[in-house]
Symmetry: C2
Subunit: 139 residues, 2 copies
DNA sequence: GTACTTCCTGTAGCCACTACAGGAGCAAGA
DNA sequence: TCTTGCTCCTGTAGTGGCTACAGGAAGTAC
């Protein structure tokens, strides 16, 4: 059983974030020492590491909670996990696509900027009415 | 001079968002009718539209405020705008790259998932220690 | 005993909105 | 004139996923 600082080091999750995860119910409340300090087992560290990996992959916390509810039960989890992962992948693809479009728009805007003249054509373009219909979705 | 609902329609900015922009100082406080309702001029609508376009391009609000402080003055704005736009472009590129890496990691994880067996190899991988070093940055 | 570090709880801040409560004004029709 | 329905007002709280800080208590090393 180790304290939260060590748990943070071993899991890669920030101390404040560990407490936040506990508060919102991502990980269960750990045991406490007689003085009231949190004590973590090896399993709990592993769970924290799992959460961190999922977060690094961009999964939102409610999805991670679903994942965690699946671990332990052997049957029927794979299909649902796959669906959730595919949905997430689709969202990532959409984000990439949107960012690429945004990148294009920005490049088009700023490439007129390098002629060294005083007035900024990019700001002008942003001010004019003709621009801005192509880039619309959320990133 | 038009009311906030019309201003919202003509600028494409949500009513609540217009009030939010006013509150945080992105756009100046508009005039009011005798009954206390906001009244917007053509120029103010144009400014709202400018803010919307910048937001659609992903510029954060402080940058947009800098842009707005440049409009009106003719000299020296282009170079600074260009720098800000380039920085923003670099950030977009970094995001795209990170998402692409994330996408790869997710694909690698989930492609073992489609064999129809009961236990989920993806969750297993996420639980094991060997995975997760390649994907680390913020999106 | 003292200095230093780690830990505790609780609250507030970040970003860029969005939603809602509870009320007031305004325009059109009966 | 009255009612209906729409728009608008202010103020506050919620979103996601943390992060930071205040003010204190406990543990450890010398």
């Amino acid at each position: 059983m180790i304290a939260i600082g060590q748990a943070s080091q071993q899991s890669g999750v920030n101390i404040e974030t560990i407490r936040y995860y506990e508060r919102v119910g991502v990980v269960p409340k750990p045991g406490r020492s007689t003085a009231g300090r949190r004590l973590y087992s090896v399993d709990e560290i592993a769970k924290l590491r799992f959460v961190k990996r999922c977060r690094d992959l961009g999964f939102p916390i409610p999805i991670i909670q679903t994942f965690l509810s699946f671990t332990g039960q052997e049957d029927r989890s794979c299909g649902e996990v796959e669906t959730l992962a595919e949905d997430h992948l689709a969202q990532i693809d959409a984000k990439i696509e949107n960012l690429a479009r945004l990148r294009e728009a920005l490049l088009n805007l700023s490439k007129n900027c390098d002629d060294g003249t005083a007035a900024c054509s990019m700001l002008d373009s942003l001010m004019r009415d003709s621009f801005g219909e192509a880039v619309a979705q959320k990133s």
